[in-house]
């Protein structure tokens, strides 16, 4: 596949935008939750919305809110963002072949919107034989619009939603990850990487704060996959 340029078309962009409905809906619910919490912590509407536009990472933003204060503990917040978003390093590495032959501006704009939410559908699209690199950007744009507008709405809503848990709304993201896991499952050869990832993620989650467990589990599982390449090839 390397050596051959990937397409980057309006059609792929549109398909990605439409294909994002499930993660965008999940992101919308979380965006409202973030807006509500930001309001409670005392962030101005403009600050909350700008944070969603610039940082664009749900878990990192939630962690930042928890640490927010006066003066702003910037080092602690940056450490939290790094711990939460280090997993994007792996995602970013995995998309390198997808953008072979695609222009720089398009590539780095697409990377700005990189998250599990658009990476997973784009991966599925590629596995099904449609390698249009614009799909990830289209999907990301839909999620971005959803996340930013939901932040504003949540901030405005204040405390009108009594208990999101009672409606199972907090489960939306986990349900989506479950669907993605079922979609990317490649059968027997994924068993060892999955077991390694789960074991390491659980162990690191117990020992280290933040979201290091995602990076650790992702690294462990994918390295196991790399080590058994000789048997699978």
């Amino acid at each position: 596949m390397a050596g051959q340029a990937n397409p980057f078309s309006w059609r792929g962009l549109g398909a990605g935008f439409r294909g994002a409905s499930a993660p965008a809906a999940g992101g919308f619910v979380f965006g409202i939750a973030f807006g509500l919490l930001a309001d409670q912590v005392g962030l101005a509407l403009s600050t909350a919305v700008l944070m969603s536009m610039l940082v664009y990472s749900g878990t990192a933003q939630f962690v930042s809110l928890q640490a927010w204060g006066d003066p702003i503990p910037l080092a602690a917040i940056c450490g939290a963002i790094l711990a939460t978003n280090a997993r994007y390093v792996l995602l970013g590495a995995s998309v390198r072949p997808w953008f072979h032959g695609v222009g720089r501006l398009k590539t780095y704009a697409s990377l700005f919107l990189l998250s599990e939410g658009n990476w997973a559908p784009a991966l599925r699209e590629r596995l099904e034989g449609r390698p249009d690199a614009a799909y990830m950007l289209g999907c990301g744009l839909a999620m971005y619009a959803s996340w930013v507008s939901a932040t504003a709405l949540g901030h405005a809503l204040g405390q009108l939603i009594p208990d999101p848990r009672a409606f199972g709304i907090d489960f939306v993201l986990l349900a989506f990850f479950t669907v993605v896991a079922a979609g990317v499952w490649r059968g027997r050869r994924d068993i060892a990487p999955l077991v390694a990832a789960v074991a390491v993620a659980l162990a690191v989650g117990r020992l280290a704060p933040g979201h290091w467990y995602i990076l650790a589990g992702g690294l462990a599982g994918s390295l196991v996959a790399a080590l058994k390449v000789d048997r699978d090839a």
Binding site: A25, R96, G168, V172, P193, L223
Partner: protein, 99 residues
């Protein structure tokens, strides 16, 4: 907006974007076509999903476990991610009313 908030947002944005392009830039120095690198990249999806799900499910209770099964089962049966997410959320809400 006060300057300290503006500076904080700018630095937070830079850290976040650095994570997003970091792996992509590093791959410039790696042989993407080598079988082992391909196998490594191919192993990332299930490893990340397992790492995200397992701790969350362990921390959850019966409602989350049933929601997980309903999401996976509905997706296998229908192939629709929206149907699977909706069914799972409904299942979680229902189980929680019983607890």
């Amino acid at each position: 907006m006060t300057p300290d908030v503006a500076i904080a947002l700018a630095v937070m944005a830079a850290v976040s974007y650095a994570c997003r392009i970091g792996g992509f830039l590093l791959m410039r120095f790696a042989p993407i076509d080598a079988p082992r690198v391909r196998a490594w990249l191919g192993g990332i999806p299930i490893a990340i999903m397992g790492s995200l799900l397992a701790p969350a499910l362990l921390k959850g209770g019966p409602a989350e476990w049933i929601g997980f099964a309903v999401a996976g089962g509905t997706y296998k049966a229908t192939g629709s991610d929206i149907a699977a997410v909706a069914a799972a959320v409904l299942a979680v809400a229902l189980v929680r009313t019983q607890l």
